[in-house]
Point group: C2
Chain length 455, copies 2
């Protein structure tokens, strides 16, 4: 897609320089909004703003919504509050709230003044919730039905109000106190007799989401029940909004990204890789590199303490990279398994004992495998007094792979238990701890066997 | 949820031992199918089968579809083909095809014989495609409209046929040769005048998915366009099926898991962590641990070659864990950024040059940061002739962080370019290569500076 977009780019630029807004609108009338957003990403901010403002509704708002947020902010600043207001009125409510919150204060204030009262209140409502909760991703645009309506009256209401709503495939039955009483799907409306009453066909006491639920749990619930949308309620049971399937898919992709970045040892980026400023990225990487450096220092300090042992058996040093790598890798394997298991709900904190037994067994078997390689290498390298070196290396490998697997699996469970996202620190933290533990085990085992070496 | 399910478990077991199928059906009539599936996961296979067969439709099929696949296979084997057939007839087409393919041959064959001809052909059709392509996740249950129908006739057709279909929110206009001509959403039907003609309101030349498209790209497209479903076509443009939003969400979660496991250095598990046999898991972990062991050996071999240098400056050994960790971590940070960027489509192979420049710059800056720490430590530790050690360590750190960042970012791009999933090998492979490169750089730099040491 992008290659094609690049091909038409010179023509687009010429048209923007020379054409009238009407020419622009006509030229792009057949484009899907997502492709228009791609074109705008590639244009200079000024040209992109010209293109945007030349488009007709609903294409204009749709394309604006699909821009990546740094580009969108820049185009907004170029276009100014006055030109923006008619687009912002049409935006989907959840996206609009995010967009307005992140604008520079001057533009945000003039923009809010230009919005009709209803839209302004809606932005206020949606921005009260944390960005990564159900409240932060919900929208307030849904159709409300009365329990005593007939099916055909309900379809009439959807006809009258549906244009403005995020979805018309799930409809909500709410009483006078705004309590959620039931859900009706469009599928049920279509498949039920026109004279049936809503309270007869609605799903009573539907599954709902609390407004402060973490967005990762929201995705899990939507994935579990395969709903098009789910209702969001406050602590008193009043309906506040809905979360829709497309937001859930976006969040699933975003969360997978965040977790991968955390597990890869860096703070998650807020924007796409190539759109992130170099210094921002360096800052996000420097934190963990520095922490891991300190861990490396500890490891070095341990080695210093055992300088005498090392000087008596220099061969032990040759195995150092291998021992560090084996411990670190088995630890990160276990950490990955448990972190992802927790993320998708396959593993719970209460499974800790089962997990510990599994990891202990895996660690011992994998450690023995690597340990036997270690013996082979000692023979192969024809080291002086290879028996004691082989013993030291293989005992260390068994211990470190077992310790690595245990630490790697139990640390994420511990973090989860005390309410910290296990992905945040687990994989790099495990690497730190296992590196230090590995060297400590190695020098202790060596300290036990090496003095037996003939000098 | 699961804690609650565990609480009711003893009562459920008693009911299953003593109650009739009708009692069972009545007792569970208010349960959501996803919760029933949870109960079945916890029961013995025989009891779970009794529970399943006691339920009424549509709850029975819905709960069966929501079971994890190992449990589902075991329950199927206990229940037998005859009891299974009426459930399988009702299953969603895509899920059914996966389920039947994975059954043991004897049951599969008797089950297929018991299915009506139409269902048997449908299973045959859907199982021809690779599991991780659009064909593997599509369903053949959708509503087809004619271009010359009116909106109210179309709604009538949905009423007549909708019960059996996966979704009624996207409807497909297909001509006599089965070519896809357009898409109409239920939203359009509801919001259009009843006498409007389908070909007037339909979206012409809709975006479609080729049947052999990788499922990861399918998710990306659905996420990009926010569709409820997308049509799947063959090479000749004939419509074969649809992929729906709930399947896309499942695939997004599954793919994120697979990528995380690959990046964590193990072959992806097919089943949840706790449901995977211990030996299967050990096998999947042993491969990479062995490969990384070999890499560790290379590193050791390099150290052996430079034994003389190391003996002249034992202090260099204290920095070894730190240097290995810094190279490995910067490499895995870069690899993570690029792998995820590729996975979500934010980064393309053609961006290689831009990425290389960014990573080169990041690497130099981060390397200089760590290098300056290295100088600090050399002073702090009060090493003999600390100036040369500090020089060696800091030059090595600058070089290794830069090389790590470059390798980490470019290797995934190379793999993608030659058609290999970059997540498959990238993170552990980067760790191997960077470990070896790190030690090589260290001994070379040391070889240049240490001979200058006074002996």
């Amino acid at each position: 897609m992008s290659a094609l977009v690049r091909l038409v780019l010179p023509d687009v630029e010429e048209l923007l320089r020379e054409g009238s807004p009407a020419d622009v609108a006509r030229a792009f009338e057949k484009f899907h909004a997502a492709d228009l957003a791609d074109v705008m990403e590639l244009l200079e901010d000024e040209q992109a703003a010209t293109l945007l403002l030349g488009l007709e509704e609903p294409q204009r708002t749709a394309a604006f919504e699909l821009l990546e947020s740094p580009k969108r902010q820049r185009i907004a600043e170029v276009a100014g509050a006055e030109a923006l207001a008619p687009i912002v009125v049409n935006m989907s409510h959840d996206d609009r709230a995010d967009f307005v919150t992140n604008l520079p204060e001057a533009i945000r204030n003039s923009l809010l003044r230009l919005l009709p009262e209803e839209e302004r209140e809606d932005v206020d409502l949606l921005t009260t919730y944390e960005e990564d909760t159900a409240g932060g991703i919900m929208t307030s645009a849904y159709v409300v039905l009365d329990p005593d309506m007939t099916v055909s009256e309900a379809i009439e209401r959807v006809r009258a109000e549906g244009e403005q709503q995020e979805t018309i495939y799930a409809l909500y039955v709410v009483d006078a106190r705004k309590w959620l009483r039931g859900v009706v799907t469009m599928r049920q409306l279509i498949l039920s007799p026109p004279q049936a009453l809503i309270h007869e066909i609605m799903i009573k006491d539907p599954i709902s989401i609390s407004v402060d639920m973490d967005q990762e749990r929201v995705v899990k619930l939507l994935g579990r029940y395969d709903f098009v949308a789910m209702p969001v309620i406050d602590a008193r049971g009043r309906m506040l909004g809905i979360v829709t399937h497309d937001d859930a898919l976006d969040v699933a992709i975003e969360e997978a990204n965040e977790d991968a970045q955390l597990m890869g040892g860096l703070e998650p980026l807020d924007d796409p890789y190539l759109a992130t400023a170099l210094m921002t990225m360096i800052r996000k990487r420097a934190v963990w590199l520095s922490v891991l450096f300190v861990a490396g220092l500890f490891a070095g300090t341990i080695l210093r303490e055992f300088e005498a042992t090392l000087q008596r058996a220099v061969a032990l040093i040759f195995f150092l990279p291998l021992i560090i790598a084996s411990g670190g890798n088995s630890g990160s394997q276990s950490a990955t398994l448990v972190i992802r298991g927790l993320a998708v709900g396959e593993v719970k904190v209460t499974d800790a004992w089962r997990i510990a037994r599994r990891e202990m067994a895996s660690g011992l078997i994998l450690g023995t495998l690597l340990g036997s390689y270690g013996i082979g290498v000692s023979i192969l390298w024809g080291l002086d007094d290879w028996q004691r070196i082989a013993l030291t290396v293989s005992v260390t490998l068994i211990a470190i792979v077992t310790v690595g697997s245990l630490l790697g699996s139990l640390l994420p469970l511990l973090l989860q238990r005390i309410g910290i996202d296990p992905a945040i620190t687990s994989a790099p933290l495990v690497a730190c701890l296992v590196d230090i533990a590995g060297i400590l085990i190695y020098v202790l085992v060596a300290g036990a066997f090496v003095p037996l070496l003939p000098t």
